[in-house]
Amino acid sequence: MRKVEAIIRHFKLEEVKNALAEQGVHGMTITEVKGFGRQKGHTEMYRGTEYQVDFVPKIKLEVVVAEGEVQRVLDTILRAAQTGQVGDGKVFVSELTEVVRIRTGELGRDAL
């Protein structure tokens, strides 16, 4: 089993979610994160004091899938999340040693 972790833009979430759902992905989990990278932050000014805000709000989307589906999921995310502008984000894939569904105790593929 693999965990595909994608850092994407906020306003791309809806699109990515729908694209994945169309591909038959049954579940996913998202987290509000802030990213630092090539995309520049912005400057805020409060009564003469300027703050450089380096961290940009992003969404982290996690999808656990069987190894064989990783490529399809990757392609789907890339397609749906791309704008071509700096800051589109990254995808990280890692291996899981176990997956369990809490409700039933099912393991592995059955747990998804």
Binding site: F11, E14, H42, T43, E44, M45, Y46
Partner: protein
């Protein structure tokens, strides 16, 4: 980074404005001798001020200012997405400054000066003949009725701020701030001041029973601003929504209210402030003020029940946004009739507003697909129009004997309804035409909308360089 060239251009404009402001005091000063030379009419000195009336009118003025902010600012800012919360608040606060100053400079004079049928004159420019004058032995404060003319200037001056702030709801989250500023200066001068003069100055063409009201079937009844404030802003808002266009992602992305607690707090502040708006429009702390107060209260209450009830029926549960929308609809709708109808009639008027505005904000809007973002048309345009008509139905000499004993509203056999319809039509026409022309010109010169990138980033950051909440 701000492009220096643009900053510089803006800078020059800003300095020019500042200079003018700083010059005004001197001008005001320079003119005083002239004023002093002109002996105050004895009449001025003799009219006594009633402390109770003045107390009530000052209190009402404070309440009406509270309607724009915190009231409306909270009501509206809760309804937008988080990234635009300050954009909405900034527009409200800035308009308090802008319209506040304009009213003193020329707005009051254009609205209430002289005796023209179509517009005021320059008698009260720069508060001349409004603020104190030197009698030779002491200050003389011009008086209007039982209150100082300064109070008479202040109270409608607070009104002047509200319609521009109301319109903010139509183009929330996408209009360029600088264009908005210029638009409101022009709209206030070219739509609001004439309308205000027509309806509320005794020489205006829409003033009920006024000398020049023959052309409009005798003039219309508008106690506290159904036409002047709500129809004018509600209709102009629709034109804005149509010309400025929908928000990016409208219809596809979810755009739920980001903070309904603000909306609820703002709405209930509007309820409280509206007592000043309507009951203050009696201009005295008399029994008519009490009657208008009661009508206002009951219409708001009935609006809550009606809109919540419609939701309960159509979707199985009432919502706090529904209850708040209903109270505002009820308040809008009772505004023109508050001092002409019985408080019991106000219950029916408020309930009707709740039902009609509910349909305007749901069925009507989704049918035509315009993005009147915060339903300014649906609540103020529709509610104001309904109110003007229902005033013609329910107005009664029992409350306000405007026709010298003759019946007034339709229900008691009077005929004011015709004039109400005429006044409504005129207001719609004026608002549509002037707003349309202004926006077309501004679109061609300054541009109406922020860039796509700025809109996606949100107005807080792109227009003001600030964030609403930093909770990390």
């Amino acid at each position: 980074m701000v492009k220096p060239a643009r900053a510089w251009r803006v800078g020059r404009i800003a300095w020019a404005v500042l200079t003018v402001l700083l010059g005004i005091a001197a001008v005001g000063f320079a003119e005083e001798p002239r004023v002093a030379a002109q002996p105050p009419t004895p009449q001025l000195q003799q009219q006594p001020i009633d402390s109770g009336d003045n107390a009530w009118m000052l209190t009402s003025s404070a309440l009406v200012l509270m309607m724009t902010a915190p009231g409306l600012a909270l009501f509206y800012s809760g309804l937008v997405r988080k990234k635009n919360v300050l954009g909405v608040m900034m527009q409200c606060v800035f308009l308090m400054g802008l319209m506040g100053v304009i009213w003193a400079l020329w707005g009051y004079s254009l609205s209430f000066g002289g005796d023209g049928a179509l517009l005021g004159n320059g008698d009260y420019l720069l508060l001349n003949n409004v603020q104190a004058q030197w009698s030779g032995s002491g200050p003389v404060f011009p008086v209007e009725g039982h209150i100082p003319r300064l109070t008479h200037m202040l109270f409608p001056g607070m009104f002047f701020i509200l319609p521009p702030a109301l319109m903010v709801g139509a183009f929330a989250a996408r209009m360029k701030f600088s264009t908005m500023v210029v638009f409101m200066i022009l709209w206030g001068t070219l739509v609001y001041c004439p309308l205000c003069h027509w309806v509320w100055d005794s020489d205006g063409i829409l003033f009920y029973g006024g000398a020049n009201a023959g052309v409009t079937a005798g003039g219309a009844l508008d106690f506290a601003g159904g036409t002047v404030v709500h129809i004018s802003s509600g209709i102009s808002a629709l034109v804005c929504a149509l010309l400025i266009g929908r928000r990016l992602g409208y219809g596809s992305e979810p755009m739920p209210p980001h903070n309904l607690t603000y909306t609820a707090v703002g709405a209930t502040m509007l309820w409280v402030g509206w007592f000043g708006f309507n009951a203050g429009s009696a201009l005295e702390a008399n029994a008519l003020a009490a009657s208008a107060f009661a009508a206002t209260h009951l219409a708001a209450a009935a609006g809550v029940l009606a809109w919540s009830g419609m939701e309960w029926i159509t979707r199985g549960k009432p919502s706090v946004l529904g209850a708040c929308s209903g109270l505002v609809a009820g308040l809008v709708c009772i505004t023109p009739g508050s001092g002409f109808v019985q408080p019991t009639s106000a219950i029916a008027i408020g309930a009707a507003a709740g039902v009609c505005c509910f349909f305007a904000c749901t069925a009507l809007k989704s049918r035509f697909g315009y993005d009147d973002s915060l339903d300014v048309f649906g609540v103020h345009g529709v509610g104001g129009t309904l109110g003007a008509i229902l005033t013609g139905v329910f107005a009664t000499r029992v409350v306000n004997n405007v026709a010298d004993g003759a019946p007034v509203g339709l229900l008691e056999g009077g005929s004011v309804l015709t004039a109400q319809l005429i006044a409504t039509a005129i207001t719609w026409a004026l608002a549509i035409v002037v707003t349309f022309v202004l926006l077309k010109v501004l679109d061609a010169t300054m541009g109406l909308r922020v860039s796509h990138a700025e809109e996606i980033e949100g107005l807080d950051m792109s227009q003001h360089g600030e964030e609403g909440y930093i909770f990390l």
